[in-house]
C-alpha cells in the first residue's frame, strides 16, 4: 500500500517536472514540421524544375537566374526598399513623437492612447480598402477638395505608377505607428524617475533630458520596434492587394505579391519558391543579428 502510494507520487512528481515539456511538445512538433519542414521543402523547390506541379528534377541555380532576370522582380525589390525604409523610419519617428507627447501627463491620456492604438486592431485588408477609397482621385480626398472649391488640388498617387508605392507607405504607417507608440510609451514609463529628477535639479531643459537621457536609455525598444516593423514590411501582402492590387500595372508589386503571382497564377512554382527564399533571406538578415545580440546580451547580464 505504502509502496504503491510512493510510486504514484513519483509519477505525479515526474509529470509535474516534465509538464512544461509535455504541454509544449505538440506545438513544437507542429511548428517543426509545418514551418521548418516547409521551409526546407520550399528551399528544395527553388532548385527544382517545378512549374505547375512540384517535381524533384534538379535545376541548380537556374530558377534564381530567371528570377533575377525578371524586370518585375526588380520592381518588387525596389518597392520593398522604398516601402520598408520609409515605413520603418516614419513609424519610429511618429510613434516616438506621439509617445513623448502622451508622456507629458496630459488629460484623457487613456482615451488618446486607445485612439492611436486602434488602427492596429484592423486587418490590413480593411485598412487597404478604406485608404483605396480615401486616395481615389474621383472618390476621396481629391474630389472632396474639388467639391469644397479648391479645384487646383491634386493628389493622384494611387493612380500614378511612380507614386503608388508611397500610398502603401501612408496606409501602413497609419496602421502601425500607434503600435510603435505603445511600445515607446511603455518604455518611457519604465525609465527611472530619479535620474530625470536629478537632471531637472541640474537645470537640464526638457528636450535635453529626452535626447540626452531618456531616449538613449530606451534604445533596446528601438531595436525591437525595428525588427517588428521590418518583418511586417517584408511579408506585406494583403495591404497591397487591397489598396493597389499591385498596380497600376505591376508598379506597386512587393516580393510577397510577386511570389503569389508566380506560384499560384502562372504555374511557375520554381521561380515562386526562389523568390520566397529571397524573402526568407531578407528576414534572416534582420532577425539573426538581432537574436544573436539578444542572446549574447542575456548571457552577459546573467
Amino acid at each position: 500500500m505504502g509502496a504503491s502510494q510512493s510510486t504514484e507520487s513519483n509519477l505525479t512528481a515526474g509529470i509535474q517536472r516534465h509538464l512544461s515539456k509535455i504541454v509544449v511538445a505538440p506545438s513544437f512538433a507542429a511548428s517543426l514540421f509545418f514551418v521548418y519542414g516547409f521551409i526546407l521543402w520550399t528551399g528544395y523547390m527553388a532548385f527544382s524544375k517545378s512549374r505547375m506541379l512540384p517535381v524533384w528534377d534538379w535545376a541548380g541555380l537556374r530558377q534564381y537566374e530567371r528570377l533575377w532576370q525578371m524586370e518585375r522582380w526588380h520592381v518588387a525589390i525596389e518597392n520593398l526598399l522604398i516601402f520598408g525604409g520609409l515605413f520603418i523610419v516614419t513609424c519610429l519617428v511618429i510613434g516616438c513623437l506621439l509617445a513623448v507627447l502622451l508622456d507629458q501627463r496630459i488629460r484623457a491620456e487613456g482615451a488618446l492612447r486607445t485612439i492611436f492604438l486602434y488602427p492596429m486592431a484592423l486587418s490590413f485588408i480593411v485598412t487597404g480598402t478604406v485608404w483605396k477609397w480615401l486616395l481615389n482621385p474621383g472618390l476621396g480626398l481629391e474630389s472632396m477638395m474639388h467639391d469644397l472649391g479648391w479645384t487646383s488640388f491634386e493628389f493622384d498617387w494611387l493612380v500614378n505608377s511612380d507614386m503608388a508605392i508611397y500610398t502603401v507607405v501612408i496606409a501602413a504607417v497609419w496602421q502601425a505607428s500607434g503600435f510603435v507608440m505603445a511600445m515607446f510609451l511603455a518604455a518611457l514609463r519604465g525609465v527611472d524617475q530619479d535620474i530625470i529628477r536629478a537632471a531637472y535639479m541640474d537645470g537640464a531643459s526638457l528636450p535635453r533630458i529626452y535626447f540626452g537621457i531618456i531616449i538613449p536609455s530606451i534604445r533596446p525598444v528601438f531595436l525591437s520596434a525595428i525588427v517588428v516593423l521590418a518583418h511586417l514590411a517584408v511579408k506585406s501582402f494583403d495591404l497591397v492587394i487591397a489598396l493597389t492590387g499591385g498596380g497600376p500595372g505591376y508598379s506597386s508589386d512587393l516580393p510577397a505579391t510577386f511570389m503569389y503571382t508566380m506560384a499560384f497564377q502562372r504555374n511557375q512554382l520554381g521561380v515562386g519558391a526562389a523568390s520566397a527564399m529571397m524573402m526568407l533571406a531578407t528576414v534572416m538578415a534582420i532577425i539573426v543579428p538581432y537574436l544573436y545580440s539578444e542572446l549574447r546580451g542575456g548571457k552577459k547580464n546573467g
Binding site: 505547375m52 506541379l53 530567371r66 525578371m70 493612380v159 497600376p248 505591376y250 497564377q265 502562372r266
Partner: protein, 420 residues
C-alpha cells in the same frame, strides 16, 4: 439510456443506408469549380439538376476565391494525393499541361457516340483534345473582342454605330473627347489592359499576325513594325480613358457606359450580363459591336477537364456528365444563364438575345475566313507563364510613358526568358 439506444439505432440504420447506396454502382461525379456567384452559380445548378435527373449523384466541390487560383491549389494537392475529382473547371492550355502529367481521362467513346467531331468547332476541339483524344468538354463560347457602346452619347457627336476601323475609332474618340465625354471606359487591371491589347493586335495585324505573334510567339512578328503600331494605338487609347481608371473592376467600367459617364468599353460578352441585369435592351439602350477587325473572333471557352478516377460508379458518372455537358439541352440553359453562346452547333438560338445571335453569326463567318482564334488575355492561347510575360509588358507600357520601341524590345526579351 433511452437516448443512447436511439442514437445507436440511428447509427446502425445510417450505416446500413450507406452500405446500401455503395452497393448500387450509381453514377457519381465530384465537380470542382469556382462558379459560386450570380448567374454562374445558377448555371452550375442547372447542370446538377440535369445530372441528378439522369440518375447521377453529384458531389459539389466549389472553391471560391482568386478567380480560380484557390481551386487550382486544391486541385494540385488532390491530384498529388491520388484523389482527383472527376471533373474540374479548367480551360485553355492548362488542359494540355494536366494531360501531359497523365492526369486526364480519355473521353473518346463518349465523343464517338455523341458525334462531337461534327458539332464542336475545330479550333475548340484542338483545346479539348490532347494528342487527338478528347480529355475535356466545352461548356460555352465567350467572345472577347466586343465594343459596348452607349448610343445616346454617340449621337451627341453624330455617330449612329460603333467604329468599323481603328482609324474611325480614334476619330470618334477624339470627337467625344472634344465634346467633354470620356470616350473609353476602362478598368486598369492587367487582364483588362491585355484584353484591349489583343483586340488591337487582331484589328491592326489581322488574324494571321495574331496567330504568329500571340500564339506561335514568332520573334519576327513580335519584333515587327505592326507590333509597334499596336503599342502606338494602346498609347492613344490610354489618352481616351478617364484619370481614375487604375484598379477599377470591369463591371464598374461597364456601369460607366450604362450610366452615360463614358461612351465605349472594350470587354468580353460577360459585360452583356451587366446590361441585361439592369433591364437594358440591346440595340436600343446599348450597342454591341465587334472591335474593328477583318472577320476576327477571339474566343474564351470555359470547359471541364475529366480527371482519371477509379471505380465503376465514378467512371460512369464522369461519362454521363461529359455527355450531358455537350448535350443540346444543357448548352442552351447554361448559356442563357451565363450570357455566352453554346460551344456546339445544332442548338437553336431563338431564346437568346440579339448580341448572342450576332456572336453566333460572326463565329461562323470567322471560322470560314480563318479568323476564329483563342484569346491570349483569357488564357486560351498560351500557357500561364508565357501569357503572363506578355501581360506584364502590356500593362507596364499602358501604365507608364514607355515608348513603343521599348515595349517591343521588352516583349521579345520577356518571351525569351519565359520560354526556357
Amino acid at each position: 439510456m433511452y437516448l443512447r439506444k436511439t442514437i445507436l439505432a440511428t447509427g446502425v440504420a445510417l450505416s446500413a443506408l450507406a452500405t446500401a447506396s455503395f452497393a448500387h454502382a450509381e453514377p457519381t461525379a465530384e465537380v470542382l469549380h469556382w462558379w459560386t456567384s450570380g448567374g454562374e452559380a445558377k448555371a452550375v445548378a442547372s447542370l446538377k439538376e440535369d445530372f441528378e435527373a439522369n440518375g447521377g449523384t453529384w458531389v459539389d466541390s466549389p472553391v471560391a476565391g482568386g478567380a480560380g487560383d484557390a481551386a487550382m491549389t486544391v486541385l494540385r494537392s488532390r491530384v498529388l494525393s491520388g484523389d482527383a475529382p472527376a471533373a474540374v473547371q479548367l480551360k485553355g492550355p492548362a488542359i494540355q499541361e494536366w494531360a501531359e502529367q497523365g492526369a486526364l481521362a480519355d473521353l473518346n467513346d463518349v465523343a464517338a457516340a455523341e458525334g462531337w467531331d461534327d458539332v464542336i468547332p475545330g479550333a475548340i476541339q484542338d483545346v479539348m483534345k490532347y494528342e487527338g483524344d478528347y480529355v475535356a468538354v466545352p461548356v460555352n463560347v465567350h467572345r472577347v473582342d466586343w465594343i459596348w457602346a452607349n448610343p445616346t452619347l454617340l449621337e451627341k457627336v453624330g455617330a449612329t454605330e460603333a467604329p468599323k476601323t481603328w482609324d474611325e475609332f480614334n476619330a470618334l474618340a477624339d470627337k467625344l473627347k472634344a465634346a467633354g465625354i470620356t470616350p473609353v471606359a476602362h478598368g486598369g487591371q492587367p487582364w483588362q489592359d491585355a484584353t484591349v491589347f489583343e483586340t488591337v493586335v487582331l484589328g491592326l495585324g489581322g488574324p494571321e499576325f495574331f496567330q504568329k505573334a500571340l500564339i506561335d510567339l514568332d520573334e519576327d512578328a513580335l519584333n515587327s513594325d505592326t507590333m509597334k503600331a499596336v503599342f502606338d494605338q494602346m498609347r492613344k487609347i490610354r489618352g481616351y480613358v478617364d484619370a481614375d481608371f487604375p484598379g477599377r473592376d470591369w463591371n464598374l467600367a461597364t456601369a460607366m457606359v450604362m450610366n452615360g459617364e463614358a461612351a465605349m468599353q472594350i470587354m468580353g460578352d460577360w459585360a452583356k450580363g451587366e446590361f441585361l441585369a439592369a433591364g437594358k435592351v440591346p440595340g436600343k439602350d446599348f450597342i454591341c459591336a465587334a472591335t474593328p477587325s477583318e472577320n476576327g473572333y477571339l474566343f474564351n471557352v470555359d470547359s471541364f477537364a475529366m480527371f482519371n478516377v477509379s471505380g465503376d460508379d465514378k467512371v460512369e458518372g464522369q461519362k454521363l456528365l461529359a455527355e450531358l455537358i455537350v448535350g443540346e439541352k444543357f448548352q442552351e440553359t447554361f448559356n442563357l444563364l451565363k450570357g455566352s453562346i453554346p460551344a456546339r452547333s445544332g442548338v437553336s438560338l431563338d431564346n437568346f438575345d440579339d448580341c448572342a445571335k450576332k456572336s453566333e453569326a460572326d463565329l461562323n463567318a470567322a471560322q470560314a475566313a480563318g479568323g476564329f482564334l483563342p484569346s491570349m488575355a483569357h488564357g486560351m492561347a498560351l500557357r500561364g507563364h508565357l501569357s503572363g510575360a506578355i501581360v506584364d509588358v502590356v500593362t507596364a507600357h499602358f501604365n507608364s510613358d514607355m515608348s513603343s520601341d521599348e515595349a517591343v524590345s521588352r516583349l521579345v526579351e520577356a518571351i525569351e526568358l519565359a520560354k526556357d
